[in-house]
Symmetry: C2
Subunit: 243 residues, 2 copies
């Protein structure tokens, strides 16, 4: 049976990390909130999981995934759940723990990228927190972005199985998530990202390699890939792209 993915239908957002894993593995899935209301899909179908008092394990927020009896939310937990059947993680406990640790570090950077345009909180729009955003973005571009990319470069360089993947010798969900993170950074911070990624050639090469994977390339060229926009996590506000 196809996986049921629930996420906001007009942004890549955190749901994109799950979409990419499903697409890269060629797994059947329904992107429920993007479907038609009259087929019991659309945003109302997603909201039912958040509001119906009969749901035993209500997600705090999208994305979440339904797989038969299992409903799982939190991007990193969804990926960890999906990875074994999708063959996107190694079999050893050490490989699984390390992959998840990298994923959670990617999630931390995603949060920090988001907070550049929402430093005061998600309840206000960007236009109501522009001075604060400018300060936060300055710190992000000058300190955090290079620091995170440097960590990813380090662990690629130290991978005993080679520099092509973050964990071991084959593709994992962490590779896909790092690809998406770089995609987002290049969109939101083209100048700052270009400046930082010059020092991390293995990160740049991994990003290019993932983009060229046949299933990923087909997905990126399809209408299923929602373009970046200024409602998602990665937003292009030129004033926040500080070099």
């Amino acid at each position: 049976m196809a996986y049921q993915l629930f996420y906001w239908p007009t942004i890549q957002g955190r749901g994109e990390f799950v979409r990419l894993a499903l697409e890269a593995a060629g797994a059947p899935y329904v992107d429920v909130a993007r479907g038609p209301d009259e087929q019991r899909q659309g945003v109302p179908a997603m909201m039912r999981w958040l509001t119906d008092t009969r749901v035993l394990h209500p997600p705090f927020a999208p994305p979440f995934l339904q797989d038969g009896e299992i409903v799982v939310a939190q991007t990193a937990a969804i990926l960890q759940y999906l990875a074994p059947p999708l063959k996107l993680v190694g079999r050893s406990e050490q490989a699984r723990v390390w992959t998840q640790q990298i994923q959670l570090t990617i999630a931390d950077m995603v949060n920090e990228a988001h907070d550049t345009h929402h430093p005061v909180g998600a309840g206000l729009v960007y236009e109501d927190q522009k001075p604060e955003a400018l300060r936060r973005a300055r710190e992000f571009c000058s300190a955090r972005l290079p620091k995170f990319l440097s960590w990813f470069e380090t662990i690629l360089v130290r991978n005993p199985a080679g520099q092509r993947h973050l964990v071991g010798g084959r593709l994992s969900y962490a590779d896909l998530s790092l690809f998406q993170l770089i995609e987002g950074l290049e969109y939101a911070f083209p100048k700052a990202c270009a400046a930082a990624i010059g020092a991390t050639p293995n990160v740049r090469a991994l990003h290019a390699r993932v983009a060229a994977l046949p299933k990923v390339a087909a997905y990126l060229g399809s209408e299923r890939r929602i373009p970046f926009n200024e409602q998602g996590i990665f937003r292009r506000y030129p004033e926040l792209d500080i070099v």
Copy 2:
């Protein structure tokens, strides 16, 4: 062999979620960075893991845990790794996934609580971002704090095994982490937390019940429990406790 926990020696911080799990389970561990330098402990022993180029899986940041050949960082990943041997998670896949999902939601709230005093970024001290902090704290106290507590209350109320635990009928690491989260909120936001927790009686009862567990109570009364202070995640700045 005792687990080796590495975390900053003068704050509870994110390491406290791991300390609590180890203490509640009565597991042997060494809080390495709090030990004496001359016994190859202390902060230098921790920093070696972050800087030694021979480390294959370098943590991005503390806390991290060493268990023989395994080194794992990221609080939620550490807890997930420790939980089966410490008997702090159910055996079914559904229980494990749900427990981790709750833990990651707790981690999200911990991040948001931290960012009330560091909305512009961790590279600046609080004193350099007080106006921004005031705006962020207002949103946190009025919207986010009640929203998160209400979600924890909901999942306690809906637990088919009863309202004493977040997952199933026995203690899990998510219960311990929710206890610690409430501890921190009560310290940092005594007025706002009191206002919100009145509407979530099962959360309050769980907090009290965890505090009374013999091993937890012994730990909380010991010198191993570092008092809250204004260098950690939860800081008592009265101006940010907004009702």
